[in-house]
Every structure is written in C-alpha cells, then in structure tokens.
C-alpha cells in the first residue's frame, strides 16, 4: 500500500535537514545533531534499498510559494502558501509498504516526528474488490 508522508516543521531559518533548524534542533549538542542526522540517513538508505521508497522531495522556503486561484475565469496569484500557519510543509515522501504498521514505523523514524509531525496519507488506487 502506498502512502504520502508529509513532513511538517517550523524552522528558525529554512533549509534541510529541516529538523536541525528548529528551536529544538538548534538547542541540541553537536553530537546529538550528528546522531539525529545519521538516524535519518539510515532510514533513507534502508527504505531505498528495500524498494519501499518511491519518491522524495525537499521543498523550498514557503517564501517562494505562490497560491493560484481562479475566480470568474480570472487567474489570481498571491505570494505565500495556501494555509497560513506556523508549521509548514517541508518535504514529502512516497513509500510503498507491506503493511500500515510498517508505514507508521517509517513515519515515526523521521526526526521531524519528534518536534512537529509527520502526516501519513494513503494514496488511492484504481483496483477494487468484488462486493
């Protein structure tokens, strides 16, 4: 089953890995920061080698976001993200896992889950069962 994993964060300054730039990340010792970065590397290597990782994207600063609306057939663009919030979408992963439990395990291993949150969204498929 395929999931979109959305990484939410609220960094002091934008950049990746984003968890290091949060207030909590900045407060850690160098050793803790290195260890946390290694945990992420280990996770990414593991899911890439297992063939679970389908795609990954790190997003640019929301300052670069443009929101597009069409009203009465007129396109209106505004600077900034659609949802104005402290926490912003920082990156996304698409994974294909054997079970929902495995997907939760992966989500929980992103360091970002400790500071803000990782949201798991199942991806709909075109197959269906006989009813």
């Amino acid at each position: 089953m395929k999931y979109l994993m959305l990484i939410y964060s609220n960094p002091e300054t934008w950049g990746h890995p984003i968890f290091l730039r949060t207030a909590e990340g900045l407060a850690m010792s160098d050793a803790e920061r290195v260890a946390m970065t290694e945990e992420l590397d280990t996770l990414l290597t593991e899911i890439r080698e297992s063939g679970e990782l389908i795609s990954v994207a790190a997003l640019a600063d929301p300052a670069n976001a443009t929101t597009v609306r069409v009203r009465n057939s007129v396109r209106l663009t505004t600077d900034g993200p659609y949802v104005e919030a402290k926490e912003q979408l920082a990156g996304l992963f698409v994974v294909d896992c054997a079970t929902p439990e495995r997907a939760e395990e992966i989500a929980g291993r992103f360091p970002d889950a400790r500071f803000f949150a990782v949201e798991m969204r199942p991806i709909m498929g075109s197959s269906g069962e006989e009813m």
Binding site: S50, G51, E52, M124, G125, S126, S127, G128, E130, M131
Partner: protein, 412 residues
Amino acid sequence: MSTAAETEDLWRQLAPQVLGAVVRRYGDFETAEDAVQEALLAATTQWPADGVPDDPKSWLIRVASRRWIDQRRKDSARSRRELTVASLDSASDQVAPPSGAETAADDTLTLLLLCCHPALTQPTQVALTLRAVGGLSTAQIARAFFVPEATMAQRISRAKQRIKDAGAQFEPPPADERVERMRAVLHVLYLIFNEGYTATAGSDLHDVELTREAIRLTRMARAVRPDDGEVAGLFALMLLTDARRPARTTADGRLVPLAEQDRSRWDHASIDEGVGLITETLPRSPLGPYQLQAAIAAVHDEAATADETDWPQIVALYDLLERFGPNPIVTLNRAVAVAMVDGPAAGLEILDGIGADQRMAKHHRLHAVRAHLLDMAGDTDAARASYVRAAQLTTSLPEQHYLEGKATALGP
C-alpha cells in the same frame, strides 16, 4: 509460424528450468538469475527475428552461461583476481546435459520455494517469484505494481542479497520445513492473483496480466505437486474466481456486485474445470483453507441465478473455514451468508463481534457489509450512513464510486 505471444510463452515456460540448470552449473543463485534474465532478453529480440531455435532450452542455457562468464570476467578484472577463465570458457559452449522432466519439475519447485524464502518480506517474495519463476522483466513487474522500475529493481536485488545472507541454497528445504515453506509459496501465488483480480479498467493497459500470470504459475506448481490438495484448491479457486471476471466490471470500469452480475457472461469452461478439480480433490485430500474457498466459489458459480445460491451450504463451508484460524474477512463473508439463511439480524449480530476489533472498525468492508445487511433489514437511514462511512474509508477509487452510488440510491 508462431506468434509473438506463443514465442514469449515458450521462453517464459522455460525460464525456471534454464535458471535451475545455470544455478546447478555455477552454484550462485544471485548471479545466475541475472544471467538468465539477460538470456531471456536476448530471446525477446532474436527469436522473433531469426526464428525459435531447434532446442530453445539449450539455446537459453548456452546464452545465459556466456553472460554469466562475461560478467564473472568483468568482476574478476575489477578485483584483479586471477580466475581460471579457461575452465569456465569450455563450459560456455557445452550443451546442457539433457535433463528429464523430473529434474525440470524439481527445479521449478525448488525455485518457487527459494523465491518465497522466509527471510524475505511478502512484496519481495512476490517480485522475485514473478522474475525468477515467471520470467518477467523488472520493467514489466514494476508496471504491473505501479512503481518506478528503479524501485522494483531495488526490491529484487535486495531479495537476492537477503537469500544469500540467509545462506539459502538452490536445494529443497529440510523435510521439517517443507509444509510451512509450501504454504508461503501458495500465499505468494494467491497475492499475485489478488493483485491482478482486483485491478479494474486500467488493467487493460498493462502488458502483464497478473491474474493470468498467477494462474500460469499455479498450474506449474500443480504439475510439480499433483497430490497436494491445497495446490489443487488454490488452482480451482483461481479458475472459479477468474471465471467471473467478464461480468465483474462494466465497460467503464464500474464494479458489479456478485448478485447483479450477468451470469451468461461468466467463463463456463473455467467454471467446469474448477468445479471438476475441487470435486475430485475434496474427498481425497486433508481439508485446507484454499480448498474450502474454492468450494465456496464453486457454490456461487454453479447457481444459475443469484436467488438459486445454496446459502446453507456456503454457511457450512465458512464454518469449516473459520476452524483454520480466526480471520475477520472470513467472518464478514460468513455474516453475509448467515443473513441470507437466517435473516439480516443474525448477520448483524456477527458484525457486532468483529467491530470490537479496532483495526476492523476502520475497515471499509465491515461498514459495506453492515450497510448491505441494514438495507436488507429495511433500516434505510442506518444503511445509508454505513455506505457513506464505507465510501469514506476505502482507498480504492472504483469501490468508493460503487459505495457512494449505493448510498445515493437509498435517498438523500
């Protein structure tokens, strides 16, 4: 002259036998499997152009052996190790010793058991089985599962690495593991079938029909394990389920429930084969879950109309099936059958028990079945609410479409 499809069937049929011969010659599954893939690829380009060789199996073994040696040379050059290439060279032009039908059968079974090794996760068992036993390319398997080719390649190479790390050899497993290992093989074949069976309209766009592939592999398994009742049961289940395929969806990909299917469109040749097989297997073999599921499918398929379905017999078969271990999906299906015999209240009572399980409480099928039974009971409002809940929980587009349609049909 043979068609492209016949040619492909031929080399795919030979794939496990060729791999068996190459692994036995060089002793390494991982590299032998790559070499055989390359030989199959060579066949895809050369056979349609030059014609099928007189002895296609020897041709494939010869080409795979050459590829194996070429790769080995490159590797040894890279690692600067001396290798007795000369001795390997002479092997490359040898024609494989003629292997009897028995060896071919043994190889296919050994290969199936190796690809479904317990060190692998189910998705990787599935991928490796399709490639090593089914002779499909990584690209074909990736397309069938809607993942990028690189992702699938990673799964397959990881699977082979794990088999190596587990110290597994190309040989039959120890006698005390055989029953358990064979069960894993059947489960993988069942998963491949289900993946294809559940796919709807979009599946026509594939070059690989996973359902057909699962049936082909299970037919192979049956040829090498003719006395295994569960292999026969699984094969019959596939035939009896696939027989309904032409009536299962509309031309635009909408799901048609079993009760509303146009039964004249079922594949009656497959039904006859499946019914014959399960009828002959049941009294002869120790009972197993695949045989029981096949027997249930046979009862459905033998009813000329939905109203003529022998529901008491289906209830009895589900009762037996539940004895093989608790399974909430089996219980859901039993609830439907019980409702057909004793009325919807009896079915709904069974569902209350399943809903206590937290995971099942969020499973769309529980709500879909509850909706159906509530509708039978005449509780339209509650039925509609359950259909809406089921539509919300499914991650399948056609199922959602179907469930929303049922909710709408029950009024605003």
